[in-house]
Symmetry: C2
Subunit: 463 residues, 2 copies
């Protein structure tokens, strides 16, 4: 038997209940609008499928115990399982797929900031050979639409791996130090330049090279500003890699203008992204600080992604270019929760549309079977209905239980004998008990129709 | 790098894609109608939370590797995590909760019959102190509604732990052999009586006792038939336990009659259910064999559950009676898949409502930016829209890609210069290219409105 002390979820995990889970529907609506097909993969993969995909971060992978059989690990993200699936499904030449699922990292948890060991990601990716930057632009459009739906103000920071690597080359960073330089520079959103510079020197860059890196990467601004700025730099213009990246970004700017999302993005030369598999455009979505919601100050990045054209090919069957985005669902929940908690306290509010009650005098038997008949009829009509699970419920019990439910169906023996029931709009909790409004008498056989009418009129009132 | 041979999902697991995942919405609709609140718990629990809950079956539990920290295991079902959650949330006195999630069993997989190592369960449970059998009746009503929604014919086999144990007592089964007798009897749906009888003798019952057990349990029929039958047996009538169970079943029969689901159930005295934690009513849902769908012959039980009044109390904080049902989602998918595959071959059909095309003569530049503007406008209006991710797509490419999409928006430079676009109903694939119907010219600014109108009229046509 479990002792009292151990009655908890494992470290870095949590339960989700009620309204929080319905928030995900906002994301799905947007993703399906863009032709997303849902995919669901196993929570664990063969260990070989995950290996050599995450670089240094691999040490955070959870393994299953060796109980005889295959070596398996819990998934670390949704991108690698998608690439594995694409490699297996050679009949799929192009697809837009989305997946919402939990991923696992044995990291130090920080629950208040939404950093957990088990957390939800929601990924949308476009795989296939297309003309440059068209799918990339659609992904950025999706990002804008998702956060518009949640009414969360964001900026999408953009950069391009080829521009970044080109700049490092021009600055004089040796080829074998490009990835480590990149990961140091990525910290500029949290650390001051002095600290990053020190890390670059520790990693073996000369002061001169480090300072040139610093001049290049500490620049950000609108797409057009930054493009003009980079075009003017003749030293950078000599780097082939960088010019390829710039051409991509020019194209992207025109697409984002056409889609009217260019004002959501910022071209930020310090953005680098940790994972090795990105090959082109990269992006990270940060929340705009909102003083009315302190959670916006803590949460930081809430979505990120980029283009990864070589990951599918790593499984040795075929190459397939991909671009995608991962939404950090738990962090989005943390933000919305902080906003929502101000409005309603409970995570378990009653969602019923109709509460079925019965009343009577001394001889009152509770009319349970009749309440059941009515419930079944309403359920069959698709109406969310409840009744007290008591043989003889008291009036006040029934009114209290109907808190938050908009409509009551009221049964009494006399009315039933006359083939009638009462339908009444409720106004919250025990206030109803005192109310003199007895509702409307309607023929028993018109019940569903009358309930629907009343629900529709209440809906209209509230709009 | 993964070798080609290992490019697969782990044994007993599979990927789900496309339409299959949308099938779950049918279940959710029913469960929310009954006031279900969604709950989501971690995929792994502290090992101590799972221990001593599953009897013999514990050996099938998956453990996480010991990488320092707490001992954790993948969940085995959704009932025990729910009980753990109820123990922790002492503010919750009663709740209807549902959860759909994957559970894990290191069993021998048999994929064609829908038996996997990772599989979906969807649970609906009612926790709280209520008058007897009212929540139990609602659960049976939910079962009926879910399978009505899926148009799957089922029978719900019912029994009661107290009736079962009482019968065994009357038959002379020693107290310490009641659970093993029960699990042998549970096999009667798959094995002939002779085999079960042999197992009982092996377990140490005398021939006489085994035969009396056989006489009792090999009976099933409608609720009323079986209740009358049991009431007539004076020997059984002397057993207190059994009489309590019978009283429950009488009550249940009247409730099921009121809810009009009594014809879906069969009272089956051989039903025992393997898990230890059941204390009252138990049930198992079996598919009615349908010669037109061979999967119905293989799948067997597709949902099961019962009352477990003591599980929450096992965590030492408070008792809380519960009753619930687990739907075997993968087996339901297997059934529906077999039916659906006859209709449509692919699991990746296009769900878009509008395909945006562009056409032009020699100087045609593809009108990509204009296609993007239109797409963004339709997306913002909540319409599922797609366009070719090509700068200059060919007409036939666009028609082929629009296969299955009901409406096209067609752009041409001339029309755009006059502030117009074409809106056209599609009839499937390249047949459209040959069609002489050029659609309707509408003002660019009325586009969303005109698309909505056309979609609505197509919808009406199809109903």
């Amino acid at each position: 038997m479990a002792s009292k002390g151990s009655l908890k979820t494992p470290k870095g995990t949590r339960d989700w209940v009620g309204g929080d889970l319905h928030l995900r529907d906002h994301i799905f609506t947007v993703l399906e609008r863009h032709g997303g097909v849902p995919l669901d993969t196993p929570v664990f993969e063969l260990r070989s499928v995950l290996s050599e995909k995450y670089g240094e971060e691999s040490r955070l992978i959870y393994n299953l115990e060796d109980q005889g059989g295959e070596a398996c690990s819990l998934r670390y993200d949704l991108t690698v399982p998608f690439a594995r699936w694409l490699s297996m499904r050679s009949d799929v030449q192009h697809i837009k797929r989305y997946q919402i699922a939990k991923v696992y990292r044995r990291d130090q948890p920080a629950i208040s900031r939404g950093r957990l060991r088990e957390f939800y990601q929601c990924d949308f990716d476009i795989a296939g050979v297309f003309d440059p930057m068209i799918p990339d632009a659609e992904i950025l459009c999706i990002i804008a639409e998702v956060f518009e739906a949640f009414q969360i103000g964001v900026t999408v920071k953009l950069n391009h791996r080829k521009i970044l690597d080109g700049m490092f080359e021009v600055a004089g960073v040796p080829k074998d130090k490009i990835r480590t330089t990149s990961s140091a520079v990525d910290k500029l959103d949290k650390a001051p330049w002095d600290e990053v510079r020190k890390e670059l020197l520790d990693k073996g860059l000369s002061e001169e090279v480090a300072d040139r890196v610093g001049t290049y990467v500490r620049r950000s601004g609108s797409m057009r500003e930054m493009l003009d700025n980079l075009r003017l730099d003749s030293e950078l213009g000599a780097n082939k890699f960088l010019m390829e990246g710039l051409a991509d970004m020019e194209l992207l700017a025109s697409y984002l203008e056409a889609m009217n999302v260019v004002d959501k993005v910022s071209f930020d030369l310090s953005l680098a992204r940790g994972l090795d598999y990105y090959t082109g455009l990269i992006y990270e979505v940060v929340v705009l600080p909102d003083p009315a919601n302190p959670a916006t100050l803590q949460v930081g990045s809430i979505a990120a992604g980029g283009r990864y054209d070589e990951l599918v090919g790593m499984y040795g069957r075929r190459p397939l270019p991909c671009v995608g985005i991962s939404f950090g669902v738990d962090r989005i929940f943390t933000l919305l929760d902080a906003r929502r908690k101000k409005k309603s306290g409970s995570d378990l509010t009653n969602q019923a549309e109709v509460y079925i009650m019965a009343f009577g005098g001394k001889e009152f038997d509770g009319l349970l079977l009749e309440r059941m008949r009515v419930a079944r009829q309403l359920w069959a009509a698709g109406i969310r209905a409840e009744f007290a699970a008591k043989v003889k419920p008291k009036p006040l019990q029934q009114f209290n239980a109907s808190e938050g439910v908009p409509v009551a169906v009221m049964l009494g023996q006399e009315e039933l004998d006359a083939g009638q029931v009462r339908v009444k709009q409720l106004h919250g909790g025990d206030k109803n008990a005192a109310s003199k409004d007895k509702g409307q008498l309607v023929p028993r056989e018109n019940l569903v129709e009358e309930v629907r009418k009343l629900l529709a009129s209440i809906q209209l009132e509230q709009e």
